[in-house]
């Protein structure tokens, strides 16, 4: 056992209101720079939808992530990068056919606001025309980072969602009927994977995973702009700065976390959907867990995450130099509770086999309805709708298979179990707080969903009423100690501060 710690974020999709505050916080803090305007280290997508960059999930097109060749025949297979072999990677340096172009994102734009003040007097109101942030010339805006915002059900955007591929024709059709249209939001940041494809694809070896918290970073001084990372990341969360010629990505706000603050996206979240916590994982199991057939992938993945209360794990953590403060944080981690204890959180697209370390709680959705004599009617018996819904998750507007494609390698049963549990907790708490009486039927329902009343209370507490310190359980980084081993801070007093060692200018 090789115990390591990981900082993980959890997204409670049932609470996301799609306000994009996270994206703006991130943009203002990190990517409001020349060459980075088009980058959204954090973005929020409307699902079903095409996403950003457009159709990033279509790995037949973008060739991101890993491929496992042992599916089906029972023999142990091998894992390989979908993008390239080692020699193939070097041969494609001069032109990488799988690199998305700016059109796959969008051409960043601003408006010529100065015209509003400087336009000569005339009969018309002056307007601020859109200009490209690359060339500075006027452009017709054709797309943006959330161009299909709220366009669930649209024949253009929602229909091109790669996750709809294996839905039955009836379900596909229902998704685009006005009365049945549904969408949910999917906020995305870098998944800081355990088996990152970007690291594996980098010819310069500039990308690395930090041991202390698992954050995947690009060493800008070693990056040579070969841009294989951009193509290899199946989540398309490494970006190429066209001005400086370097790759950049989400840094999980490590400067904030090292000073005890949650990442800016999580901190600013209006719906308070984001949780941050430590997970302890077994680094020795990663390789084996990534190389199993699809149907065993989720279990193998969850097994790499260790129980922070297990004395053996604690001993292993200490042996690897993990601070007691971190172990304590791992024991209080909201991510650990949701993902491992209550088992209602899943990683995004595990089938890419990068072992993503950010977790999602799948969203509930309204009940399907049909039009009858110009009135909408719920597709469910209104008298016992609460209970019936549990048995008829197919009546929920978001197809279970669709969620399974996103979060559970296509396994519907996993999603059903989670949705049942979430509904059961909801019904239990409604009986308790709204009606004030608890009946056997509800308790049986809760037990049927694999949940105890105590657990339901705990899920309810952490979902709806968490204190900020419950949502963000940040461990002490003790960065001061790490720095002191290298440098005597007093010897450098007055020498450091805000500024550049070297301005981030494009090299000649």
């Amino acid at each position: 056992m090789n115990v390591r710690a990981h900082m993980s974020m959890l997204f409670h999709l049932d609470k996301c209101i799609g306000c994009h505050t996270c994206s703006i916080a991130c943009k203002n803090l990190w990517t409001d720079r020349k060459g980075a305007e088009y980058m959204w280290w954090n973005n929020v997508e409307t699902r079903p939808g095409a996403g950003y960059p457009t159709q990033w999930e279509d790995q037949e097109h973008f060739h991101g992530g890993w491929v496992y060749d042992g599916n089906g025949d029972g023999k142990p297979g091998k894992l390989r990068l979908r993008l390239q072999s080692r020699a193939g990677g070097l041969a494609k340096l001069f032109f990488n056919p799988d690199l998305p172009s700016l059109e796959d994102y969008y051409e960043p734009f601003t408006f010529r606001y100065g015209d509003l003040f400087n336009a000569p007097e005339g009969d018309d109101q002056p307007t601020a025309i859109p200009i490209s942030q690359v060339t500075g010339r006027p452009l017709d805006i054709e797309s943006g980072p959330n161009w299909d915002d709220d366009l669930g059900g649209s024949p253009l955007y929602a229909a091109s969602d790669p996750n709809r591929r294996n839905l039955s024709p009836e379900v596909q059709e229902a998704l685009s009927e006005v009365e049945r249209v549904v969408f949910n939001y999917l906020p995305r940041i870098c998944n800081h994977c355990l088996n990152p494809a970007c690291v594996a694809a980098c010819p310069s070896g500039a990308i690395y995973k930090r041991v202390e918290d698992g954050i995947v970073l690009v060493n800008e001084n070693k990056c040579r702009g070969w841009r294989m990372c951009v193509a290899a990341c199946p989540y398309k969360k490494v970006f190429y700065n066209w001005s400086t010629g370097k790759s950049e990505k989400c840094i999980l706000c490590f400067p904030r976390m090292e000073t005890g603050q949650a990442p800016a996206c999580a901190h600013s979240c209006v719906g308070r959907i984001r949780y941050m916590g430590v997970l302890l994982y077994d680094a020795d199991r990663i390789e084996a867990a990534a190389a199993v057939p699809d149907d065993r992938l989720l279990d193998a993945y969850m097994d790499t995450i260790l129980d922070p209360f297990d004395p053996e794990v604690i001993a292993g953590a200490r042996a690897n130099g993990i601070d007691d403060g971190w172990i304590a944080a791992a024991q209080k981690s909201p991510v650990y509770k949701f993902a491992k204890v209550w088992k209602i959180a899943l990683p995004l697209h595990l089938e890419y086999r990068t072992m993503a370390m950010m977790f999602y709680i799948p969203p509930l959705s309204p009940v399907m309805s049909t039009l009858e004599n110009a009135l909408t009617r719920l597709d469910i018996n209104t008298e016992v709708e609460d209970f019936e819904l549990l048995e008829r998750l197919d009546a929920a507007r978001l197809p279970v298979q669709y969620l399974a494609n996103l979060f559970s390698v296509g396994d519907e049963q996993v999603i059903r179990r989670i949705l049942r549990k979430m509904y059961a907790v909801r019904l239990y708490m409604r009986r308790k707080t709204v009606e004030g009486v608890m009946d056997d039927a509800t308790l049986a329902l809760l037990a049927g969903a694999g949940c105890t009343p105590e657990e339901a209370e705990a899920i309810y507490q952490l979902t709806t009423l968490p204190h900020v310190n419950d949502r963000f359980v940040l461990p002490p980084y003790h960065r001061e100690m790490a720095v002191e081993t290298w440098k005597d801070p007093l010897a450098h007093k007055g020498e450091v501060g805000i500024g550049y060692i070297q301005p981030p200018k494009r090299g000649d």
């Binding site: 070896g205 800008e220 090299g507």
Partner: protein, 233 residues
């Protein structure tokens, strides 16, 4: 001192010295500035038709020069049969034309595509011009002064070894035609520009990728002081 000595003895040493010193300085103190400066994100179609022919053409041709420098005898032996000589020379010219086409596409792209023009530095154009001169003079040499693979080993192999072993002798170059001299002179200008331009990305060709482990994990822990503290707890 005559022009011949200035261009083919003094200039090479100055150029190589500056290239090596500045490249090392840049690598150590200005590593952020070293990048291939790819512009594929902004424009990909023309880059495909420019970058691939140019890079592969120039790499193979430079390798050919290097082979003639390292194992001149085998080149001469290879050329002993006329058919093999023609084959070698034709391949050289073909690759040169391939590189020229790529270079022309790249120049055209840099000058006409808005997105590429705004990220171009003056040095980018200098490099393009020097490369164009290099490829064109090389092609003229190969076409009009036959057979290059023959006389290269007689004139340039000893000359370059002389430079590299600090026993320079540029006298054999004096009677050469202007085009060939320009080709050599221009190479030294490229060497001069090397450390000050995007050309430095050549030495960062990441051959280590072939053998490194897939994953890179970097520890900030395991530091002596921290370990001692933990041991005392």
């Amino acid at each position: 001192m005559n022009w011949n000595t200035l261009f083919f003895v003094i200039l090479p040493y100055v150029a190589l010295f500056i290239a090596i010193i500045v490249t090392i300085y840049r690598g150590i103190y200005r590593p952020f500035s070293i990048s291939s400066l790819s512009s594929q994100l902004l424009e990909r179609r023309r880059l495909f038709w420019g970058s691939i022919p140019f890079h592969w053409g120039i790499i193979i041709i430079l390798t050919g020069h290097l082979v003639a420098l390292l194992v001149p005898r085998s080149i001469v032996l290879w050329n002993a049969h006329p058919l093999r000589l023609y084959l070698l020379e034709l391949t050289g010219v073909g690759l040169g034309l391939w590189a020229l086409i790529g270079l022309l596409v790249l120049s055209w792209r840099r000058m006409t595509v808005d997105r590429i023009r705004v990220i171009s530095t003056p040095m980018d154009f200098v490099v393009l011009a020097l490369l164009l001169i290099s490829v064109v003079t090389g092609l003229i040499t190969a076409t009009y002064y036959r057979w290059g693979s023959y006389w290269f080993t007689g004139i340039f192999t000893p000359y370059i070894w002389g430079i590299l072993t600090f026993r320079p002798d540029a006298a054999p170059l004096a009677p050469l035609p202007f085009t060939i001299k320009l080709h050599v002179f221009n190479f030294y200008l490229l060497t001069l520009a090397f450390a000050f331009s995007r050309l430095v990305h050549i030495i960062t060709w990441p051959v280590g990728y072939l053998i490194r482990p897939w994953q890179i994990v970097i520890a900030n822990r395991g530091l002596p002081v921290l370990n001692e503290e933990e041991a005392s707890q």
